[in-house]
């Protein structure tokens, strides 16, 4: 019998070797905590009105059942106290009930949320901040039915279609955090939209837009559409409707949060500085979301990465010594009749095939359990196979994989022995947890041992970004890669999959490792990034590329950079060669667009000051120059930067949009789309239909069909649902 006890213990002990899958673990825990948060909020709301009563009832029962040992005196006191308590309850409840605005409809209003009995927890406090404009909108809508502003309209729509939010609920996965964000967003979008409408000339045709809105015209003006969409998402929360949303994996991807760049006044901030960015990950992710019928989350949309996804026909430089030539243009803004766009584009020198240095590549491949899905590891393997095919015989490829532990699968092998490399790739399969940090170290070790002086040394990570074993601390990993950057080894990141995609981490790693970040969702995208643009991905022609634009206050009143929020630099960083910035590969292009308000324009979002009369400093004469562009970059292997300058003036200006070169117009359409997806704070009534029109007229020579695909995406965005 005892023997059986030991045998059982022993058998069970053997099972201890089976540890949980780390990715699954994280997902399960995250999901449960969200459920907990949701559940708690729901029950707290339900019980709020009665918690006071409940507590007293408990007391009362205690009072009515006096236990032995009490004398008459205490009993009498108790009865007295009980009577007072009852009175308090009755009066208190009636006051409390009267206090609520009858028929307000919105059950847990701000007042209720604010009852001192329940101190608002931080999320509730946030809710409180965000609620008033919405509730206020509703009330005023009742009072003056004629006036229609965005939030009211959104609310009324909701009232008219009560089934809508419930239907939307499961899709948006009702993550409280996200919904709360969008709630705050809706408030800001609403106020901004109002501002847009209030300014008589801010939008090209605000009047018709408003009419269309009042009539409930189908294609709504953009700001209205987004406002309505956002607040509709947020509304079920405000209303506290009993929606039990089911768990959805979609939307669990993590993105760094950032606010859209704002308008700057030229008198107070005449200089704008930012680092180049050649990443394209955002566009591919947005495309994937739209193709599955969902609007991407706001933080997934980075305007600069959408712009840089496309190839523009900028003139290319002819020598590697001056690796690029800026193209600048000024033309009217399609979404605002009173502002102009200042377009800056550069294309990097394309290295001729013969001049390509030999490459030492180490592929670092995530084979953890979370990669086990057709759009992850199998796609990555195919992508790598294609990349290996494009390499030349003397390049070497090493293979490091990581899951629960990291290991070298293939020591650096010259591409001459292609069969060996491909066989090693074929043998990979997914399973286990994700010790990404360990893998990164091992891959760098391999790249260092095989370092090619004067060649390309690069670690290429293929992952869904879910690191959860080993160095999981983002900061630690970042600083490790940053340190390794000094050794001359670059780090590129290729993101895969959806549902668990950690964009924030991937971006951080690529930016710190002087590398690029791309998101690969289809084999076609893999071909674009790894084959068609292999040269750009692999061969750096200039590093630490920084832009600085000084605006001329005599010509420009206000400016706003579209995108590059995560790449902004301080003014002094421009001349400081120690400050890191983006690298640019062979044939890469970088596009930046500013929206500028000319000094003479009646529009403008920033009012003049009443007390301080700003002197037009330096009194730069109206030379016809809008701005002065400065570019700093380092050639490969150099530590001192070089400077490139270019004035931007009326010489580069186009009077009307139709005269602007096709490629610039297409870029403008892409920028508009990015902004509208981010909430369209500045795009006024310029919406998807207008973007489609603009892009359709600017497809130009589109050999791979990327531009046609873009137009389709905008069409999809019209019908896509918010998450």
């Amino acid at each position: 019998m005892d023997e059986m006890k030991n045998k059982l213990r022993k058998s069970f002990q053997d099972l201890a070797a089976f540890t949980p899958d780390q990715a699954r673990k994280n997902r399960n825990i995250r999901q449960a905590s969200e459920e907990f948060h949701r559940h708690r909020q729901a029950t707290e709301k339900k019980s709020q009105g009665f918690s006071l009563l409940r507590r007293l009832t408990a007391k009362r029962i205690e009072l009515l059942n006096p236990t032995g040992g009490r004398n008459m005196q205490t009993t009498r006191k108790l009865i007295g106290a009980f009577a007072v308590a009852m009175l308090t309850v009755v009066i208190g409840t009636s006051i409390y009930q009267n206090h609520r605005t009858p028929g307000l409809g919105l059950r847990p209003t701000t007042k209720e949320l604010g009852t001192p009995a329940a101190p608002p927890s931080p999320p509730l406090a946030k809710l409180l901040e965000a609620t008033p404009p919405v509730v206020g909108g509703r009330v005023s809508a009742k009072q003056q039915p004629g006036a229609t502003t965005t939030p009211q309209r959104a609310l009324r729509q909701n009232a008219a279609e009560p089934t809508q939010p419930a239907a939307n609920q499961p899709v948006m996965s009702a993550e409280m955090g996200k919904a709360r964000d969008s709630l705050a967003d809706s408030a800001s979008v609403a106020t901004l939209a109002k501002k847009d409408l209030a300014l008589p000339a801010a939008a090209p045709a605000p009047q018709p837009a408003m009419k269309a809105e009042a009539a409930g015209g189908a294609p709504m003006a953009k700001s209205v559409a987004s406002g309505a969409m956002v607040s509709r998402q947020a509304l079920p929360l405000v209303l506290g409707e009993a929606a039990t949303p089911s768990y959805q994996d979609v939307g669990r991807d993590s993105f760094e949060k950032f606010a859209s760049a704002t308008v700057h006044n030229v008198t107070s901030e005449p200089v704008s500085t930012f680092s180049a960015d050649v990443d394209t990950a955002s566009y591919a992710f947005v495309r994937r979301q739209l193709q599955s019928g969902l609007l991407p989350q706001k933080n997934a949309v980075r305007v600069e990465e959408m712009l840089n996804y496309f190839d523009y026909d900028y003139p290319t430089p002819t020598s590697a010594r001056q690796p690029f030539k800026p193209t600048v243009a000024v033309y009217p803004t399609p979404w605002n009749g009173n502002t102009k766009l200042l377009h800056i584009g550069i294309k990097g020198y394309a290295l001729p095939v013969a001049a390509k240095p030999t490459a030492n590549l180490v592929f670092l491949i995530d084979v953890s359990g979370s990669m086990d899905s057709p759009d992850k590891l199998p796609l990555a393997k195919n992508a790598l196979r294609m990349l290996v095919e494009t390499l030349s015989d003397h390049d070497t490829v090493g293979l490091v994989v990581y899951a629960g532990a990291a290991g070298v699968v293939l020591e650096p092998t010259p591409v001459k022995e292609k069969g060996k490399i491909l066989a090693a790739l074929d043998n990979l399969s997914a399973g286990g947890s994700t010790a990404g940090g360990e893998g990164v170290r091992l891959a760098y070790g391999l790249a260092e041992r095989n370092f090619k002086k004067g060649g390309v040394n690069r670690v290429m990570l293929f992952s869904d970004g879910d690191f959860n074993v080993g160095i999981t601390d983002r900061e630690e990993l970042k600083s490790f890669i940053e340190k390794k950057r000094e050794t001359g080894i670059c780090f590129s990141v290729f993101g895969f999959g959806q549902g668990n995609y950690n964009d924030a981490l991937m971006q951080a790693l690529a930016q710190n490792g002087n590398g690029t970040a791309a998101y690969i969702d289809t084999l076609n995208e893999a071909r674009k990034v790894l084959v068609d643009e292999a040269a750009s991905t692999l061969f750096t022609i200039a590093s630490d590329l920084k832009f600085q634009v000084e605006f001329n206050p005599a010509q420009v009143k206000e400016y706003r950079l579209l995108g590059y929020e995560t790449r902004a630099l301080n003014r002094a960083d421009f001349n400081n060669d120690k400050i890191d910035a983006g690298d640019i590969g062979s044939g890469h292009r970088v596009t930046a667009i500013y929206e500028i308000t000319p000094a003479a324009s009646p529009a403008g979002l920033i009012d003049d000051l009443r007390y301080t009369k700003e002197e037009k400093k330096g009194a730069a004469p109206a030379t016809g120059e809008y701005a002065f562009l400065k570019i700093r970059y380092k050639l490969p292997g150099e530590s001192r930067s070089r400077l490139l300058t270019q004035p931007i003036g009326t010489a580069q200006e186009y009077r009307n949009l139709a005269g602007v070169p096709t490629d610039l117009r297409f870029g403008t359409a892409v920028a508009a789309f990015g902004q509208v997806l981010r909430g369209g704070e500045y795009t006024g009534s310029f919406g998807y239909p207008q973007i489609i029109e603009l892009a359709n007229g600017a497809k130009g020579n589109d050999p791979f069909g990327y531009r046609a695909e873009f137009v389709n995406l905008v069409r999809l965005a019209i019908t896509a649902r918010g998450m």
């Binding site: 019998m1 059986m4 949980p20 399960n28 905590s33 997914a430």
Partner: protein, 191 residues
């Protein structure tokens, strides 16, 4: 960073700090998974059971009596979830088999323990005895803790364990006997 005790975490959670709930789950996840795995001995099922159980825990955590051990309570939820899953699997056996085929082709890590006749015997035990065996011999709980999970008296647990061991030993012995008889029979027949 010092790990907080369960009670410190409970207090934080009750103060409205949701991240403490996250910490509580992270702290116990591996233990709960280990238990689920021992209970069903199938990786995918164990992951699913833990997922579902954690959701149940999230929804009913407000009702959980803070005086009790969190794990004891969680084990009970896992057992119930596992039983629900088994029932559902019986109904959807075909679907499940299709899934098993798919995961096999993806070349995953093995998700079944080494074949041993003891598991077959264990699966043949009545459910009440089985639960007690996994909790005490598998998860190393004391009889009292197992009793708290199963909602019965401590002596009941001890009795169930005894009954289980007796059954298992007899069955093991019976199998041995059958083999001997077969061998004998075989050798006689050979003659």
């Amino acid at each position: 960073m010092k790990e907080l005790s369960d009670h410190e975490l409970f207090n934080l959670i009750d103060q409205g700090r949701d991240e403490a709930f996250d910490a509580l789950l992270s702290k116990h996840y591996d233990t709960l998974f280990a238990f689920a795995f021992k209970y069903c001995r199938h990786r995918h099922d164990a992951e699913d059971i833990v997922q579902e159980a954690l959701l149940k825990i999230s929804r009913s955590f407000q009702q959980f009596d803070r005086k009790h051990l969190f794990t004891t309570w969680a084990y009970r939820i896992i057992i119930n979830t596992a039983k629900d899953l088994f029932k559902k699997q019986r109904q959807e056996r075909e679907k499940h088999q299709a899934y098993a085929v798919e995961s096999a082709t993806l070349g995953e890590a093995p998700d079944a323990p080494p074949a041993d006749k003891i598991w077959g015997l264990l699966d043949g035990l009545p459910k009440k005895l089985y639960d007690a065996v996994v909790l005490v011999y598998g998860q190393g709980l004391s009889h009292a803790e197992a009793a708290a999970t199963l909602g019965c008296a401590e002596t009941t647990v001890s009795w169930r364990l005894y009954a289980a061991r007796r059954k298992l030993s007899r069955q093991a012995a019976r199998i041995g006997l059958v083999i001997i008889v077969l061998l004998l029979g075989g050798s006689l027949w050979m003659r």
